[in-house]
Symmetry: C2
Subunit: 421 residues, 2 copies
């Protein structure tokens, strides 16, 4: 009983995280029920017979979450079926010319050579990345058609039926996935990058606040206060979240109090971004994106954002380190460090907003310039010799943190350049 | 023509990289030719008919590179087919009780509900990681059996044939993959970790050499000399590679001159390790591994090695940085730094060897202790005040490199502990 309740709770969480998942499940059920009607209606059954099964199989295997993935898989499947069907008929024709005893032997050799060769080609890295599925279908269709042809004499008819059912199955998947509540991989990739930028900005602003007040986050009340400060520094961005904090909507606050650790998800988003970009290539124009949108540039932008996240990850471990530098020196350093994190965080936030709304970032350049000038005053401060008295070993974590923050600002500038493209 | 030659070259490279790939391709061809003989031989064809097709499909889809992956997929497929077959028969029975008009409607509803529910469950993260394939087969088999039963009255017979052909196909895959030149995922995971350790050790010894001699690698001759120095420091490990360098086997040297950048592959080996560990769980005992070998510990060890590689990656960028620290200070620091990298590199190399041969690392502890004592003398040196005259900003890269090297030694110790387990 407890187990069932847990499963229901998990289901709710999964649905809440992305309600499109529920819609997708309904769509799959719908198409499958539709395609299986091939069996119910006499006229349709008469023309396709048992081959209607292939339509059902195609739907189950091809229907993916996003339009791009469905289109890519569908096209791959149809192309591989066509190609393998043609070759299969050829192989069958060749074999049938060699008499009753030669035929099975020749067919076995064909199947062996074809399967071994295709399996080997699947190990090629470039083929594996793009056409792994096509080759699987190729091996399958070739084996089924060249061999089953040995029994049923009308190989051509069989191949024709098999291909047309595969096309019908694939086409219904593609149509439903495009016209009923479509999930565009391109749009998802776009939003993913914007939200990644937002996560980083949130962390940087968090540093700014903790540098400003130097208190320790321990209980929820404290966190609410902390979040409110973050929101103050974000004022003007019209963030929903900030409104929630303003209205003391503890639920919303509670839900997002882990936001400061959220940047960690950016560290591992590479494979996700790559597969989304791969799917997006197949998609027709949609929303603000045209067909053949420069998705490669998104990957480059994603890489820059991730580089920034690596630095933030390292910075985080040094922030928790308790340096033995005297409070006096810390106070002097605080002002430029605060400005550096505040300005880079604001720049990041604005880039995220402008990416989301596909507008030009207006005051972003200004924020980056401010961060740069804060850098300069920090280095001037350091060169003025205030650290002369400190033991070098005790400087390690402080200096590393500073160099990481400078790195982050450099990367922010690069991200801005890449956005302009 | 040029294109063909390129493909052949690529094929040779893929085969050379791992000759087991060629063997695997032959195995797939063999099993497929074997299973398709169901069509040729009258007695077999009489008992299974068109259903023999399912054996062919199972082979194409289930036969994977390693034993573990094949076993896992095969068992999942058989279990899902059995379960969905049972449910499909039940659904068919229920529907057939509701009369000629009610039957297709009820069946469509069943298919819809089942497909929608299963598709939704596939979004659960834990299900996705383990049973994604089972659910796909479940949806497919249920739809095919409950619906096709509407036509062919002998649903039970059909289900029985379908399940037995799937079992035959799966079984032949599993048997061939276990008894003909098996590729064990567990063994592969084991070797992967050992070679990752070796890559790191090679890099650390490379630092040692470049600290010892301070020359720049520019042409091949120089590299050969450099590699010979690395080998000298590895003396006693009986490395094939070192023998090659000793004998001036330029081909071998040339092939492996990129070894110093090899550690980069360790950075991204996480997903590879995880899938290998996942497959290894399914494998029976083999070689020095028993069934239910603690593969989870391998993942923990892999994570430690990767953490070490992250540090090395960061260290690499600081090594290329030209510090403005005076040569005098550099000379003083060189001795402890050399010892730190040499000893940690040797410890790493020995751990790699002992992992490979599954023996206890004997002198490893000694190397770690030596590295530790070198750390101590370095910190003493730094605390003696030799850096007092240097500008703090110019210290950044030097101090960061030192702290990274200390980190690496700490991690080496942790890896050793984890090896003892």
């Amino acid at each position: 009983m407890e187990k069932v309740r847990e499963i229901v709770r998990e289901g709710r969480r999964v649905a809440k995280e992305d309600p499109r998942r529920v819609v997708h499940s309904f769509k799959v059920g719908l198409v499958l029920a539709l395609v299986s009607s091939f069996y119910y209606y006499q006229p349709l059954y008469d023309s396709f017979g048992v081959n209607a099964m292939w339509a059902v199989m195609t739907v189950v295997v091809v229907f993916e979450f996003s339009v791009g993935a469905t289109l890519g898989k569908g096209l791959n499947r149809v192309a591989a079926t066509l190609f393998a069907g043609g070759l299969g008929i050829g192989a069958h024709h060749l074999a049938s010319m060699s008499g009753a005893t030669g035929e099975p032997i020749l067919l076995a050799i064909f199947v062996f050579v074809q399967a071994a060769l295709s399996t080997f080609v699947r190990f090629f890295p470039r083929v594996k990345a793009r056409y792994d599925y096509s080759l699987l279908i190729f091996i399958l269709t070739f084996a089924l058609i060249s061999v089953s042809g040995f029994r049923e004499e009308q190989v051509l008819m069989l191949t024709h039926k098999r291909i047309s059912t595969v096309i019908i199955g694939g086409l219904s998947c593609v149509l439903i996935s495009i016209f009923v509540c479509p999930v565009w991989a391109g749009q998802d990739l776009h939003s993913l990058l914007a939200s990644n930028l937002e996560k980083l900005s949130f962390f940087l602003l968090g540093i700014y606040i903790s540098l400003s007040s130097c208190f320790i986050i321990s209980d929820l009340k404290c966190i609410t206060f902390f979040l409110r400060l973050v929101c103050l520094s974000l004022a003007g961005f019209g963030d929903k979240y900030c409104e929630a904090v303003g209205n003391d909507d503890t639920k919303e606050v509670d839900k997002r109090k882990n936001d400061f650790d959220n940047y960690k998800s950016v560290l591992n988003s590479k494979s996700n971004e790559e597969s989304l970009a791969n799917f997006a290539k197949w998609e027709p124009g949609h929303g603000q994106f045209r067909f053949r949108h420069p998705w490669k540039q998104y990957l480059a932008l994603g890489e820059l954002i991730r580089q920034c996240a690596y630095r933030i990850h390292a910075l985080n471990s040094y922030l928790n380190d308790d340096t033995k530098v005297s409070i006096d020196i810390k106070k002097k350093l605080r002002e430029p460090l605060r400005r550096m994190s505040l300005e880079s965080g604001k720049a990041m936030k604005e880039m995220s907003m402008s990416l989301k709304n596909m507008t030009k970032p207006s005051s972003c350049e200004l924020h980056v310039q401010n961060a740069r000038s804060a850098c300069k005053s920090l280095t001037n401060l350091l060169n003025s010799g205030i650290l002369k008295e400190v033991e070098p070993l005790e400087l390690i974590s402080l200096l590393t943190a500073i160099s990481l923050l400078i790195d982050i600002i450099n990367l922010t500038e690069k991200i801005l350049e890449s956005l302009h493209e």
